[in-house]
Symmetry: C2
Subunit: 259 residues, 2 copies
């Protein structure tokens, strides 16, 4: 056992809790990864990890993975771990991850880039991230007004997908304009477009833009679309949740690639 | 103006706030409907409404719809409305709705009943409700362990769909067994079933069962399935959010009905 069973100093505790806020995450260039599964996935990845905290009971389960990275697991009480965590209750583990910058890759045939125009709800952003990972989307771009990617609710809802699918912040209207000029299809989810079920003109690659939860696509972004897609409606609900709409469109994209 | 601009008594305020808890909702047989759009949809429906509260600014916008039901809009300050509401901020309106019981209808050709096996997250339940409404699912059944339907987060996430799609609580394994015995297909979303994209054997009607967010289908429910469906995966995420999976499967169902 290399358990580091020391009591955390008040200064150390404060430093971890500063990562609960956007300001703190920016200042420290770090963010929290919480829960057993996410911490294990983080340790197994090549993402930078600065520290790992676990409860006395759970700590042994993280030793091997932490050691492989030259890290010690700092073992604390469940009460202390919960107080360091943004979870209501955390009886497993919490890690501090460093920031990593990603760059955009050119799009290849049969590939899709997901573009997020002002997705505000952290749960939606995390769920969309996980969906991109499920459907093999290699990268995501987002507007500056999109929910902060290192928000603990985003990281938690992404279920480890933040480790696999890079998100790059761009000036979305300008970036879409450059894609369009390069001949890349720019598809957008709207309420009054052509049916995403129509089999006539499949879309195999391009950029798929998802708009804000209540406002939809901003006018500057909508102006860059080369194709406007809608999910057919058969009942009376007025709209779909943004993450659900993303899932349905990505599923339709994969059906087309196979068809 | 028939504005009822009286100050609410402490007892009245307490009665409204009791509806924030499950216990209070059960005792009063009533629940909260919050926000401008949901209150307007409620008033326009035939659902029982017991009271309507709105801010001084917003109250005039609710008069016509309330009057048509013989109700007065009780006009209050934004501070008081917010304190009566479960929203962090409510500057529009809040209504108290009565409970209504629904009964199950026999399934017709080309119809789907959605069955929820222990969906615990109120946001997921509301989103699934809205999806059922979008895709023209006429009814939902759920297990007793499913999130309470009158929870304000569920009502809010359902975006008015609670007015249109009845949810009936059943003993799910027993009810599914009876459906199966009657020859109704019982389809379930699982991680290791046949591909939901496979075009070979379409499913046009039946019961579609969605399992718990982290546990999936309970064994007693899984034992009743006549067909096990999976959403094909193309990347590395381990699972999909329950509401997203429901949306993808309902979209696939409608593609099949059209195909």
């Amino acid at each position: 056992m290399t358990d580091h069973a020391h009591a955390l100093t008040r200064a150390e505790q404060k430093r971890v809790r500063e990562l609960h806020s956007k300001k703190g995450r920016r200042e420290h260039g770090a963010f929290l990864v919480e829960g057993r599964k996410s911490v294990l996935e983080l340790l197994a990845s090549d993402w930078p990890v600065l520290a790992v905290y676990a409860t006395h009971d759970a700590a042994p389960g993280f030793h091997a993975a932490a050691s492989a990275r030259g890290l010690e697991v700092i073992s604390v009480s469940t009460g202390l771990l919960t107080s360091l965590s943004t979870f209501e209750h955390n009886e497993h583990a919490l890690a501090i991850a460093g920031q990593r910058t990603a760059s955009l890759q050119p799009l290849r045939a049969g590939e899709l880039t997901l573009a997020l125009d002002d997705i505000r709800d952290p749960g939606n952003l995390g769920t969309i991230w996980r969906l991109a990972d499920w459907y093999g989307v290699r990268q995501i771009v987002c507007s500056a007004t999109t929910s902060e990617r290192s928000n603990p609710k985003v990281i938690s809802a992404s279920m480890g997908s933040f480790l696999r699918v890079p998100v790059v912040e761009v000036d979305l209207p300008l970036w879409l304009a450059s894609q369009r000029q390069a001949g890349t299809p720019v598809l957008g989810a709207v309420l009054d477009g052509e049916s995403a079920h129509a089999a006539g003109k499949p879309w195999r690659e391009g950029v798929l833009v998802i708009g804000n939860e209540s406002q939809g696509l901003s006018p500057a972004v909508a102006a860059q679309l080369t194709r406007r897609l809608s999910i057919p409606r058969f009942g009376q609900a007025e709209s779909l949740n943004a993450a659900v709409a993303t899932g349905i469109l990505l599923d339709g994209w994969r059906r087309q690639l196979a068809g």
